[in-house]
């Protein structure tokens, strides 16, 4: 069997394992180890696997992941996300689908201090879903709004995916954070437009009473600590005062101090937040370990090279190549977890993209948008499962049905990024050139 066929077979088998309820890390690791064994030998597979766990678990650059997760958990535990949601719901009251828009807007804002799409979606599910259910919103519509809004955490800085992209491509994380800001805000607006469009369907979202101007102005004051944390972390990175790990640590510590000062955080909540951060981070690290083993196997099969060679032999122009890459990401995103997808694909695609004249920073943002799309794309969109895990009475097929219209927003953003690359490149040039 050729290595190309082995690679394709490995991917197929991995998808079968995923479909049969095998945890993502196991599917990636088992295929990675077994594939390497088949392709080379047991000793080669053993040699590769020997240092994977240790290297991943002690990688300083990856320490930013648990620290940003901790910051997000503390912000959730100290009801910061609830305050953001409450402020947004007052500001957007009186509009049909106002709660849905509030959940998207507050998710975008919360993503700006959280960095984790999972934490944003989990937090907003707990806060926004009960409110929308109480107000009589269609469950699939509310779940889809939370899932879509939650995915903004991956694009609006700080973003864990961009940190990982920066570490594997040796591009500046600060530049990536600057580049992703405007596309993140544009996507937020696009999601809100979709939510408005859907809200006008019969029965999707009842109209609520609007707040007075005084109430709206007062609501603006409440989430002041969010502004402070955002300036401290992202402002610190933009200004070159902090590295991402330092910004995450300072942000987490700042969230603890603010929580205790405002008396929205106590000892038990702090411990619960730390405990949850460990669980979430370690679940992510298990996937990174699995993806590292899987990536090693896939690279050895030269499957990506062969696929790209086929494209080059066909003398495809730049837009066809980029279109193909995007389609591959979208297809992979339907089945693969985002982090694994980035770890597997970026080392292969980046040289080609740069060779065709695209900026690696721009491509990083594009990858983040595509991963974000993957987070909400059935059947494996992680945000959909985060909501499903917390709202047991909701069927996964209801969530799938609800999310489909929201997929238009990231697709529109991708088109906009091709037409106006400055969407991603203007801020880094402004800050750093």
């Amino acid at each position: 069997m050729s290595s190309f066929a082995l690679g394709l077979g490995g991917i197929g088998l991995m998808l079968v394992m995923l479909a049969f309820r095998q945890p993502v890390w196991i599917a990636l690791a088992v295929i990675g180890i077994a594939g390497n064994w088949t392709l080379n030998s047991l000793m080669t597979a053993k040699f590769t696997a020997g240092t994977t766990l240790f290297d991943v678990a002690s990688n300083y650059n990856l320490s930013v992941i648990p620290l940003f997760v901790l910051m997000g958990e503390i912000a959730s535990g100290s009801r910061m996300s609830a305050e953001l949601f409450n402020a947004a719901r007052v500001l957007l009251s009186g509009l049909r689908g106002g709660l849905s828009m509030a959940s998207i807007a507050s998710s975008g804002a919360f993503g700006a201090i959280c960095g984790s799409s999972v934490a944003t979606a989990a937090s907003m599910t707990r806060i926004a879903m009960p409110e929308m259910n109480k107000a009589g919103y269609e469950p699939s519509y509310s779940a889809a709004s939370v899932a879509a809004g939650g995915s903004l955490g991956i694009l609006i800085p700080p973003s864990i995916i961009l940190v990982i992209y920066g570490s594997i491509t040796e591009t500046s994380v600060a530049r990536l954070f600057a580049a992703s800001m405007i596309p993140g805000l544009v996507l937020l607006v696009l999601y809100i437009l979709v939510a408005i469009w859907l809200a006008h369907r019969a029965g999707a979202a009842p109209l609520e009473a609007g707040a007075s101007i005084g109430q709206r102005l007062s609501a603006l004051k409440d989430p002041w600590q969010f502004v402070l944390l955002f300036v401290l972390t992202i402002g610190g990175i933009y200004a070159g005062v902090f590295s991402p790990t330092e910004a995450a640590s300072v942000g987490a510590f700042g969230a603890i101090v603010l929580g205790f000062l405002k008396r929205t955080l106590d000892g038990a909540r702090l411990i619960a937040a730390i405990q949850a951060s460990v669980i979430v981070s370690c679940a992510l690290f298990m996937i990174i370990i699995g993806a590292t083993l899987f990536a090693n196997f896939i690279v050895q099969t030269r499957l990506p090279d062969t696929l790209l060679q086929l494209a080059q032999d066909a003398e495809l122009n730049v837009f066809v190549v980029m279109g193909l890459i995007i389609v591959i990401y979208i297809v992979l995103g339907c089945f693969l977890e985002g982090l694994g997808m980035v770890l597997i694909t970026v080392p292969v695609f980046l040289p080609v993209v740069v060779g065709y004249g695209f900026d690696p920073i721009w491509f990083g943002v594009l990858v983040a948008v595509l991963v974000e799309l993957g987070l909400i794309t059935p059947p494996v969109g992680m945000n959909l499962f985060i909501i499903r895990a917390q709202v047991r009475e909701l069927n996964i097929r209801q969530i799938y049905r609800g999310i489909l219209p929201f997929l238009l927003a990231p697709v529109a953003l991708i088109i906009l990024m091709f037409v106006f690359p400055q969407l991603a490149l203007w801020l880094p040039e402004l800050f750093y050139n």
Partner: protein, 187 residues
């Protein structure tokens, strides 16, 4: 009940891995591992914050902060995976749940526990050679120049915890499979 009393009783940490009896041996082990991982995360955060403050105020950064963060991350990860496994918090796709019986789901869970345990056994076996190399060749950390072999020992200790967690998961799944009578099937 006070926070300290609740911590002693394990009521806070035990919620994470579906073990409700604080006196249960398995629950106690997972609680200890989760404590260690949580403390490592706190150390990581505090060392970086301390480094930033000392650097900004006194221009004297903490010597070896890079190493401490790397070591803390290692401790957090290797000891934190066990509670994830014991609580069945691994990320998975439950697309087929609506189409198959409870018994099938239990059987798939048993397979997952066995496969996961075997995968970590393989990783543990594979880790022996680089760990011995670290001891033989005296590999050292970047900043503090600490020998690396004790870190491999830490990784192996964590691995024992992970394998123990897979046994807990397997036992729980097997009990569930036995308890799943045909009349309980969803199909």
């Amino acid at each position: 009940m006070s926070l300290l009393a609740r911590l002693r009783a394990g009521q806070i940490f035990l919620k994470a891995y579906n073990v409700t009896d604080p006196d249960h041996q398995a629950g106690r082990t997972m609680r200890i591992l989760h404590w260690i991982a949580s403390l490592a995360l706190c150390v990581m955060m505090l060392v970086v914050v301390g480094d930033v403050i000392l650097r900004a105020v006194f221009n004297t950064p903490i010597q070896g902060a890079y190493d401490v963060v790397s070591i803390s991350l290692l401790v957090m990860t290797v000891f934190g995976i066990a509670p994830v496994v014991a609580g069945r918090r691994e990320i998975m796709i439950d697309l087929i749940d609506g189409f198959v019986s409870n018994t099938t789901i239990r059987v798939l869970a048993v397979i997952a526990a066995l496969t996961g345990g075997m995968a970590f056994l393989f990783l543990g076996w594979a880790m022996i050679t680089p760990a011995l190399d670290a001891w033989r060749w005296g590999e050292r950390s970047l900043e503090l120049g600490m020998p690396k072999w004790p870190l491999w020992v830490v990784a192996f200790l964590g691995l024992v915890g992970i394998l123990w967690a897979y046994l807990i998961q397997l036992r729980s799944n097997l009990r569930g499979a036995q308890d799943s009578a045909p009349g309980e099937d969803k199909s």
